[in-house]
Symmetry: C2
Subunit: 239 residues, 2 copies
Amino acid sequence: MPNNNDKQAFIFDVFGTVVNWRGSIIAQGETFGAKYNIQTDWEAFADKWRGKYQPFMDKVRNEEIPWTNLDALHRMALIELLEELDIHNLTEQQIEELLYFWHNLKPWSDTVAGLYRLKNKYIIAPMSNGNIRLMTDMAKNGNLPWDCILGAEVAKHYKPHPRSYLTAVELLGLTPDQVVMTAAHERDLLAAQKVGLKTAFVARPMEFGTLNTNLPDPQNHPFDFYATSFVDLAGQVGA
Amino acid sequence: MPNNNDKQAFIFDVFGTVVNWRGSIIAQGETFGAKYNIQTDWEAFADKWRGKYQPFMDKVRNEEIPWTNLDALHRMALIELLEELDIHNLTEQQIEELLYFWHNLKPWSDTVAGLYRLKNKYIIAPMSNGNIRLMTDMAKNGNLPWDCILGAEVAKHYKPHPRSYLTAVELLGLTPDQVVMTAAHERDLLAAQKVGLKTAFVARPMEFGTLNTNLPDPQNHPFDFYATSFVDLAGQVGA
């Protein structure tokens, strides 16, 4: 008979690791621009919006502003960005459509197949800085079969704060070494590792649109697993 | 293009509404008793364990003890119950097996089909006093296709505290009138209604093992919906 101690969990960074945020924002931007006749460079739009991601979370991390979820930070960043790009007079409905882009990001081609395999054997959950509603919509739109939704919002601390990872571990009723943090970003994994979690690096060399040749060395790295896709990861862990 | 405002949510009481807790505890108890040669009346065991549910949550509600999740309250109640029933010398492994009973409760026969239909059109999530890990295991064991897991643990308030319902509404990014609390228990629904949620009563006349003839009147009740099953409810809301 199974019990709590038999089960382990994989938790996942989402933006860049599970989904192709950049390609998805650009594609939705081009559709939006054609629909409303708004001319801008949508690649630059995507990169600049994402460029405001860390600075806006820093306002929360530094306690300049109280806890604010990512949807609200994305809105603040967008207002600033639209000014910078000289895009004026958008309606509230159009602003909402732009914000919804983040709820509708496309998984990498191996993501869904890999998650279904991992889910057969492990608990799988997002461990993202994105809020619960954002992750919920993304899962419905992208067929991501999460068992539950964890992440910064339940901890009220953005990654890489130790409490963000440890709250997820506690809610899972596990010890840190029973949980594998999975990400395409070394900083995220090293922060999780520092508080005792296991780690899996998944290479996403096209996250930023051009081939990233500065990935960790597959032969010499500090992680428990190093995978080229979620399907590869599932195979490595017997799922 | 969809946006946040288009989507509504159904949130669910779980013990009694989604799953048949009593029948499932009895069945698992009988298997456990045969395996370990422990003689007891498993119907009484189920009813007495459940009988300690509200009193133990009251200790948290009354601030006699700090926030304690339901798995931990179930353990405290079980230790007391085993004393009362003169069941002694169980191993920690056996205690864990008993506690896992609550993670492995069987859905009512209409539950899964109804949830899949509702999920096509709405966000669906448990709004239970059970903790996230308990709900996660139950979903995996019972094929419950939740979009996310909400409930008392994310609010750190047990139902029927207003903050339990309102925290779920806030995490969904919705207003209370966009969320339907669904339960087989009037008290739960009336508490949710009081803070502005919509309500759906689902009749579960066999929850306590004998036909309950004291259900609300189907023709004269204070709820937004009154259903005989989850499939009936899905039909009523066009899902």
